[in-house]
Amino acid sequence: MAKVKGAVVVDVDTCKGCNLCVVACPTQTLALHRNVNGKGYHYSYMENPEACTGCSNCAMVCPDSCITVYRAKIA
């Protein structure tokens, strides 16, 4: 069975660490990083990249449009 794998790219500089994407993620892929970005916010990142399915839920709820989503079929 073909498996779908996803990956997200978070624009670290514009992320404000609001945590909405982390809550919206159905596979617990995302988390807030312990480091902060230039504005002092704990930015979102893929803590568990293997779990990402590329469903785009995180990007849908992101108020700052800083998430780009990729999805590919892995044979």
Partner: protein
């Protein structure tokens, strides 16, 4: 670990792209607080404009309030209006450019407080405009004072013991009032706290623009939103607070879906 990183790099390729920032949004970083609903609604409007291919033909009217700088974020033509007067300005713009898509973007302090008269009369005239109304139950920009839409018992800077109906009156359901007016074609109330809600709101805004294209009357989209800074809780807790306290009073769904009343049917017999 290296293998995982390599797998990710294999997925992150242009041909695998499924979601990216709308090209109608500018690169300017939004000034909104972390987790603010305004950003999501801006994004939805930008996506709808992009999907309909009307970037060159859309004119927005921005209000006074947090979203006063909306013209910096969505790459279309904009007009700034005096506080509460966005529907009046949108009326003028639409009458001068009847083939353009005109929408006003207003918060509850703008649309439901100082601009109530303009709002009611613009809808009552059945102007072919879209009105997007962000209802976060508080005056966000000025520091969290009570708004007409503030819930009974809600603590704000000007109601430190909670909104008291005897003193402050009842919360204003302006969307229900507007749905009664003959000029309204499409009146709906949506929210943006979950991915499913965001998709529904996007459909509603798309439909509102289509109502305008078909000259059916005024399309009014209320978005029940959060103001975590004003409410003094985290963005995630704000969404829960909104679901628990605002949705029972401001129920989601379409209030009117049709077109403005036929003036011929209302004409008196002489």
């Amino acid at each position: 670990m290296a293998e995982v990183a390599e797998n990710i790099q294999n997925i992150i390729k242009p041909e695998n792209l499924v979601y990216q920032k709308s090209p109608v949004l500018t690169d300017k970083v939004m000034h909104y607080c972390p987790g603010c609903s305004h950003g999501v609604v801006h994004k939805i409007i930008a996506e709808v404009i992009d999907e309909m291919g009307i970037q060159e033909d859309t004119i927005g009217v921005s209000p006074v309030g947090c979203s006063v700088f909306a013209y910096n974020y969505i790459d279309i033509d904009w007009h700034e209006a005096a506080h509460g007067r966005a529907p009046a300005v949108a009326t003028g713009v639409k009458r001068v450019f009847p083939n353009k898509f005109v929408f006003s973007y207003q918060g509850d302090g703008d649309l439901a407080a100082i601009g109530t008269a303009e709002t009611m009369h613009a809808v009552n005239r059945g102007e072919n405009i879209v009105m997007v109304f962000i209802n976060n139950a508080i005056y966000g920009m000025t520091g969290g004072q009570m708004a007409p839409t503030t819930m009974v018992g809600q603590v704000t800077a000007t109601t430190p013991h909670g909104r008291n109906v005897d003193l402050n009156g009842y919360p204003l359901k302006i969307t229900e009032l507007i749905a009664q007016l003959p000029g309204a074609a499409y009146v709906t109330r949506q929210s943006v706290q979950t991915p499913a809600a965001v998709r529904k709101t996007k459909k509603a805004i798309r439909k509102a623009f289509e109502v305008q294209a078909n000259k059916k009357g005024t399309a009014f989209v209320e978005v029940v939103a959060t103001c975590n800074s004003g409410w003094k809780i985290s963005p995630v807790e704000s969404n829960e607070w909104m679901e628990e306290h605002m949705f029972p009073f401001y129920p989601l769904g379409d209030l009117k879906d049709g077109e403005k009343e036929d003036p011929e049917a209302l004409k008196m017999n002489v």
